[in-house]
């Protein structure tokens, strides 16, 4: 470890330290450089493509269960009953946002585009049950009962119509 290396070590140490301190000084002095946001007061506006909590517009939802099948972690549970006019009536549609990993596959595959990501990302609740979002606000039993009644009426009307058609059909044979 010759003397020259010894001196060189010291000089290099001092020079590189001063260079580093010059940079931190430059940041230290000009206060405009602050980049941190004061979170509760200044909220960061999320991009319109931001994948926040899911929201399903049940009016347009055709309960085709595509989203249930595509979800990798099966966090969407859907229950539907076939209505009188052969279309499915949604009984209950829940998304467990604790299991959901916001991958966006369900929103992509939803044919009527009724399932969308909202911009929300803040949710703190007291018990785990509340983390399941229920999108159908009526209670399930009520809907089922209503639909069952409609189906029964439709069936009854269809039966009378069939009897009436029965009655109408024999007359023409006698005339012929």
């Amino acid at each position: 470890m010759g003397l020259r290396e010894y001196i060189n070590d010291i000089v290099e140490a001092v020079v590189t330290t001063v260079k580093g301190m010059r940079i931190t000084a430059r940041y230290g002095i000009d206060a405009r450089e602050e980049v941190t946001q004061q979170y509760p007061e200044e909220r960061r506006e999320t991009d319109e493509r931001f994948r926040g909590f899911l929201l399903n517009d049940i009016a347009r939802c055709t309960s085709c269960t595509m989203c249930v099948k595509v979800c990798p972690v099966d966090c969407i549970s859907l229950e539907a009953v076939r209505g009188a006019d052969k279309k499915m009536v949604l009984v209950s549609y829940d998304i467990n946002i604790m299991r959901c990993m916001y991958c966006g596959l369900c929103v992509e595959v939803c044919p009527p585009k009724s399932l969308v990501h909202t911009g929300g990302y803040e949710k703190a609740l007291f018990n785990r049950g509340d983390f399941t979002l229920h999108f159908v606000h009526e209670d399930a039993a009520g809907i089922k009962a209503r639909v069952a009644k409609q189906v029964a009426e439709a069936a009854a009307k269809a039966a009378e119509a069939a009897k009436a058609a029965e009655a109408a059909k024999p007359e023409p044979e006698k005339k012929a």
Partner: protein, 378 residues
Amino acid sequence: MKPNVPVEALHTQEMLINMGPQHPSTHGVLRVILRTDGEVVVNARPDVGYLHRGLEKIGERVTYAQFMPFTDRLDYLAAMNCNCAWAWAVENLAGIEVPERAEYIRVIVCELNRISSHLIAFGSFTADMGAFTPFLYSIREREKVNDLFEAACGNRLTYNYARVGGVSADLPQGFLEKTKEFLDYFEPKIDEYNNLISYNKIFVHRLANVAAISADNAVAYGLTGPNLRGSGVSFDLRRDEPYSVYPKLEFDVCVGTGERGVLGDCFDRYMVRINEMRQSVRILRQAVAQIPEGPVLAKVPRVFKPAAGEVYFRSECPRGETGFYIISDGTGNPSRLKIRAGSFVTMNIFETVTRGLMIADIVAVIGSFDIILPEIDR
């Protein structure tokens, strides 16, 4: 003056320390069982598996498209690279033709993610060495990259942006201008980092000649990526086993040069990452200039059943190669999915390299390997 007490009689005991799963500088839940004699490490045995979620078992349960969000959780600092690696692997298996624009978008987001991953590697490494300030500067730059990703795919960490056959959505309005803006802003910052910390005497002294790995030792132990190039082996998948549109983009492969000590020491691995950031900026400038118009997603049947076969495809991730060995038996789910992670194989050499170092060097070695635990434990 002969010591009157023979040294052997002094009963000194080795200390067994748990650099436990919860430690400020193990970059995740890595446990290192340290057997030390005072400060000098006699044996450092890594114990991994604290973050094992069984991704390969999940891979056999979900379909090819559904596995994409899980690849974000493979290396969450370079999720884009893992997404695209999975997409390329499946396209290689099923022979799907991906439109030109989608390939360019993939290269753009992958290189942006390489920059943000190397920024984290640089920041956390200097923080481990005691200089906390550069970490904050690197986080500031990374936030700008995150804003770009949020505009493109909607999420800031787990992007889930690639799809089998292309990308999920086209780049938004003004994305390319914002990227150019970021590149112009970012390039001088690398020189600032070098002035601030890279050539700082204390930093160099902490890293030079520490845990040097010779070139053939690196290859034998299966090191890949910056760790391999740090030892002087000029091997980069983007150039030597080209995939996607990398052949159309010219960049040079940064290799360790033993600048401040032996070839292949911690300083070389660190400097390879810094220089690689510059190369990524160069690639990005060309990709942003050459990107064509056109569709971004190929026609892939919704119920996607690739032909039976076995494929091993690997792509260059910031932490080494990420390889997917997929065995498909014709059904919708892969029958076996092996993920080869860069950090997992790097940990293999950890025990032999850290013999005789000091405790402070263990932290330096972990930082210079830039390992990440979800990739190790899968």
